[in-house]
Symmetry: C2
Amino acid sequence: MNSTPAISKKKLPARNITDEQKLYDLADLFKVFGDSTRLRILYCLFSKEQCVKEIAQMLHMTHSAISHQLRYLKQNKLVKTRRSGQTIVYSLADKHVQTIFNQGLSHVSEGK
Amino acid sequence: MNSTPAISKKKLPARNITDEQKLYDLADLFKVFGDSTRLRILYCLFSKEQCVKEIAQMLHMTHSAISHQLRYLKQNKLVKTRRSGQTIVYSLADKHVQTIFNQGLSHVSEGK
DNA sequence: TTGATATGTGAATATATGTTCATATATTAC
DNA sequence: GTAATATATGAACATATATTCACATATCAA
């Protein structure tokens, strides 16, 4: 995984193409949010921007696993980066990320 | 799949258990939304309640595939059912479903 | 340059997931 | 009861996914 952006490959019923395609894009977006490691990474970035090493330490995971997921998050435009000397600092790409996150969280929190 | 509700099985870092657990529940929620077939089924249910056969016809898919996904959606409390004679009619479980759907859709629509 | 540190990445592995097929269950009509 | 219709489900299969491992790349300091 992680080598290309999420792309749904199923065939469309060839009707209402635009709306249908949006559903596939939407599925891809939720797919990115549908993994606890990625959510935990995003959660780390809510408070402040962080580098790979910091996130890896916070989550007790290898830098490799984090790096793979960060690449995936970046490909799907949920995080952005800036270089600061040796380290590359990751942060949330836009406010939508936290909005969608919180929307889901409130749903989960009130026990559906 | 489809035999049990989505449950993330990864081990927790044993800190802040409550919040951490919520992240796993949240990942499971997004996982349900992260498939285009399920989104298309939900989309069918936005306008009105539908039975398996109707949905299968609308999406040009087998009743089996739809039934499996509807079971998954029901297990995760996104749809509910009522029986009407021979047919079982599915509908959205609550307003949250459409809210989360639309939240993601607006994100996708404005090109991230 | 060399060494140390931070991050990236391809390949391999193990697991998870979605769909199909065949069959089972449930309701209704007769 | 049987037949017809609607839905459910277990098993098998193919694909997708997340993580680990080993190694590559990049920056900085001396």
